[in-house]
């Protein structure tokens, strides 16, 4: 069975062990400015996006800045 990963509150099949794999599978350009990622409540800095951080079962948040007060 494909390992699953929870991204922004929804379950997805694990697309790869690296954050860049995950972003590309979601159609998000990893070079895009302003994107930030947390894995299990800890920020994964951009420099670590090419490291093998994901095994399946993680809770991932992918965010960007938008209009706010």
């Amino acid at each position: 069975m494909t390992p699953m990963i929870r991204i922004n509150g929804e379950d997805h099949p694990l697309a790869g062990e690296r954050v860049v794999d995950l972003l590309q599978a979601l159609g998000i350009d990893p070079a895009r400015r302003g994107v930030a990622v947390a894995i299990n409540g800890t920020v994964a800095p951009r420099a670590a996006w090419t490291d093998a951080l994901l095994r399946g079962g993680e809770v991932v948040e992918i965010v960007r800045p938008l209009q706010g007060g």
């Binding site: 922004n8 895009r32 400015r33 302003g34 965010v63 960007r64 800045p65 706010g68 007060g69």
Partner: protein, 264 residues
């Protein structure tokens, strides 16, 4: 230049050692459209703009706030809507990563209806973020004790509310805001409740170091015009504060000379 103006030559607001180009901080949410937002922010003269940190829209890559404003303004990411220390701290950390700034407008909402801060959690989150190296600007109650505690924890400024967020209610407790300003060891920025230009001027006259507003401009009939009005109001209020208002009197005091009246 007249002597009493010389003191205002360099009257920049400095927070955490950073000299800012304006005492008005402005939000970027709720404008009729993107162009009006950009024009209003420009008209406000603000150097700092606030931003929210939210889950990315996976249905399509929209233009980010960073693309629109990134090269011209200093971002102040917020933790708006967060109701727990954990969420607020992670949101602040994500904002730092997303925007490359260690500054955060810390909000910890304790009540969905009034958007009043949860003071207990606010203090915990402020302590955690200061320890993590953040420059923390907390949105807080107009309460001198809470403001002092936040400053003691190492917050770079305190941002008491004038009235409920988005209410346009103005400054409900001017005497309290004045007291907070008089006692605070860090800059006091009036955040929330500003409805129109006179509210912003009053905040500055009471001794606030700056004003942070959003809805009063974004929801105005003519946002760009209101942004310009706010810029002038903050400048006028600051100038009046430095000039020193006359004491209030219960009775009249003639300004014209009493001697030399005709007919006597």
């Amino acid at each position: 230049m007249p002597q009493d103006l010389a003191a205002t030559d360099d009257d920049a607001l400095t927070i955490a050692g950073q000299r800012l180009g304006s005492r008005l901080l402005i939000g970027t949410a709720g404008y009729p459209n993107q162009q009006i937002m950009l024009d209003a922010v420009a008209a406000s003269g603000a150097e700092i703009v606030t931003a929210a940190i939210r889950r990315i829209d996976m249905t399509g890559a929209s233009e980010t706030l960073l693309d629109l404003l990134g090269n011209r303004y200093r971002f102040l990411p917020n933790t708006a809507g967060c109701a727990t220390v954990k969420d607020a701290v992670l949101t602040a950390q994500l904002g730092r990563e997303a925007l490359g700034t260690g500054w955060v407008k810390l909000e910890l909402i304790g009540d969905r209806e009034t958007l009043y801060p949860d003071v207990e959690q606010l203090l915990q989150a402020a302590a955690a973020l200061v320890a993590d190296g953040f420059t923390v600007l907390p949105y807080c109650n107009d309460d001198p004790v809470t403001c002092r505690k936040l400053a003691d924890l190492g917050c770079a400024a305190v941002m008491p509310l004038g009235s409920f967020i988005g209410s346009g209610g103005g400054i409900r407790n001017p005497a309290t805001i004045e007291l907070i300003c008089a006692r605070s060891p860090v800059p006091v920025i009036l955040d929330a409740g500003i409805g129109t230009a006179s509210d912003a001027a009053l905040a500055m006259e009471l001794g606030c170091a700056g004003v942070l507003l959003n809805s009063a401009v974004a929801k105005a009939h003519a946002p760009v015009r209101m942004a310009a009005a706010m810029r002038q109001a903050v400048a006028a209020g600051r100038a009046a504060r430095l000039a020193g208002r006359i004491p209030k009197r219960d009775h009249g005091e003639p300004s014209s000379p009493q001697l030399g009246l005709i007919g006597a």
